[in-house]
Symmetry: C2
Subunit: 343 residues, 2 copies
DNA sequence: CTGAAAGCGCTTACAG
DNA sequence: CTGAAAGCGCTTACAG
């Protein structure tokens, strides 16, 4: 690859061809102020003619930027990982940035997580990190990054949102919409399969759901089951909820994966969805259409979350001081897993 | 980050502390030959004391290596992407390499794919690429990389395996085992849901399956349906295969995803798996246990494929000239979607 | 608004 | 087996 690179035009080549100094070429390339239109035109022409592309390693060595950002995530059983990756990749590509991946184990101790981060930072330069859940709510990681003045943005944080630029969806409101939807369909005995207490989103969904029920149907009976966002949790919760006497007529599971688990429990128990029990998920992951019947759920624009998180990291702060918080919209996706009790 | 980096110990610091030249430190760090044990010990001690880590950007700028490799994949609907990523990431981490992602659209023209690769290579230095399916069978990409003398390894290639180091599973043999298994359970009217003709693996699975049937049960009736590895294809194929008269008693779908589609078709048609029809998938993706009944399938060690592909890229060729081909084992995973006709 | 010089932290020839 | 010098291709102060 060395030979390949040694034939590439350099900044000096561009400078020679344009008849200007290297510093001026650098100014144009970096979009700095105080460049006359005339000079810029000459440089741009030379760049185009030579097909010049600045060398990443040299920029990184000489300057403070690396044009590379890292996505911190846990691939373990997360349905949204791929979409997040897609969104972040797109934003990077658009801005000629590069995307690196750090796959960490969210169940590991903070100590070992920070150790790994330290290793990563020592080995290389990075313009910043995108923290995916559940790292987006990890204050130890945030403290560590802030101490070292490393920029970061967060995807779907639930705590201290003002602490960094971040992108999220209103989980509580979305869960509230599901509550409203189920109540509007006549359900008054409702089961709730909770998500991982480690994820703030699970808390927000629970709270939003319960608050809305309390508000619009205070007479409703609620049964809760613990969960951890996993398929197996959905199976267990479904059996617990539906195996007892006086089962709920509708169940809201905190994510699609555990909703699929509930469906599995139904299949095992010989209970029909939605004839015997209605079911809602959350995420609108591709899983929602890999079950039968298709799952009614809330759509989160996951790849948009990834894209915006990357964009916020790449674009310099606009100087207004305050980090940006971006809330993206969600939407209830009606499919076939809920029936109306009134009909 | 600049301030952070300027405080890091450099190679010169280590040289000073050890009382040797910078070149000697470089030799030790790079594990070069012709270093006396005594000198190496001094340098190692100084490195440990200072906590020295070589700077990636500087190494990359000065030398021919970048310690970064890129995984070329298409995230679109591929169940194995995450596992591949996990495996490749692990191998990189172990060797202090960094993993970058390029997410390309496999349905795009070769021209636009190569254009993007060119962009990527111009922007930065890369020690090589891992080609994931279906790029592992894309000769245009291989030609392009070879012309530029860029190293690459391939995951699950089906053609020209000698052309690069690669890692794969014996798809034909694995499909043959499924054939044998179904025949041993008494099935003689068998459906086959094919995979994407774009993926060589689909061809190999079909051939392996048909050949084995012809060998051990030449009297068996076979019905084929086209497919493209997608869930929807499984639904369509399932309906086509099972909606007609004299339906098969067992179906082999070329991947788990389309097998899930077949299950969906069964649910829609009121057909029970495995009571009315038996079903096998391929991959043992996590989907296999997100359906009911759990899917009997063939397990591919996907994260191992990713790990080995990265390892082959990172480790220099051993100089024997011939690229390495590594075949990893597969195994039939018996679950609950197949029943024996004899009982 | 523009430029000449120094330097980022390594590796590559080249000597010895 | 070991080292002194040059250079990779940029950006950063610093001048003007």
């Amino acid at each position: 690859m060395q030979s390949d690179h040694s034939q590439r035009p350099t900044l000096a080549d561009v400078a020679r061809k344009a008849g200007v100094s290297g510093k001026s070429v650098s100014r144009v390339v970096n979009g700095e102020a105080y460049v006359s239109a005339e000079l810029k035109a000459k440089v741009d022409a030379a760049i185009a003619e030579l097909g010049y592309v600045p060398d990443l390693a040299a920029r990184s060595l000489a300057g403070a930027r690396s044009f590379t950002i890292s996505l911190l995530l846990d691939t373990n059983g997360q349905d949204y990982v791929i979409q997040l990756l897609e969104g972040a990749y797109e934003a990077c590509k658009l801005n000629s940035y590069h995307l690196r991946i750090e796959n960490l184990d969210a169940t590991a101790s903070n100590e070992s997580l920070l150790e790994r981060l330290d290793e990563v930072m020592r080995h290389s330069r990075l313009d910043g990190f995108i923290l995916a859940p559940p790292f987006s709510d990890n204050t130890a990681i945030m403290d560590w990054l802030e101490e070292r003045q490393v920029r970061f943005t967060r995807v779907a944080p639930c705590i201290e949102r003002e602490r960094s630029p971040c992108v999220f969806v209103d989980d509580a409101a979305a869960a509230g919409e599901i509550a409203q939807y189920l109540v509007s369909k006549g359900h008054r005995r409702i089961g709730l399969v909770n998500g991982s207490p480690r994820h703030g989103a699970a808390i927000a969904r629970r709270t939003g759901f319960l608050d809305k029920i309390a508000e619009i149907a205070p007479d409703a009976e609620l049964v809760e089951a613990t969960g951890n966002f996993r398929f197996e949790d959905g199976i267990d919760a479904g059996k617990a909820l539906l195996g007892a006497g006086n089962p709920p007529t509708a169940i809201f599971a905190a994510n699609d994966r555990s909703a699929a688990g509930v469906m599995n429990a139904c299949a095992q128990l010989g209970i029909s969805v939605p004839d015997d029990v209605s079911l809602c998920g959350f995420d609108d992951s591709w899983l929602a259409k890999l079950v039968w019947p298709y799952l009614t759920t809330v759509r989160q624009p996951v790849s948009d979350l990834g894209r915006e998180a990357a964009r916020l990291l790449i674009e310099k702060d606009t100087g207004e001081g305050a980090p940006k918080q971006i809330m993206l919209g969600h939407s209830l996706i009606e499919r076939d897993s809920v029936r109306s009790l009134d009909q």
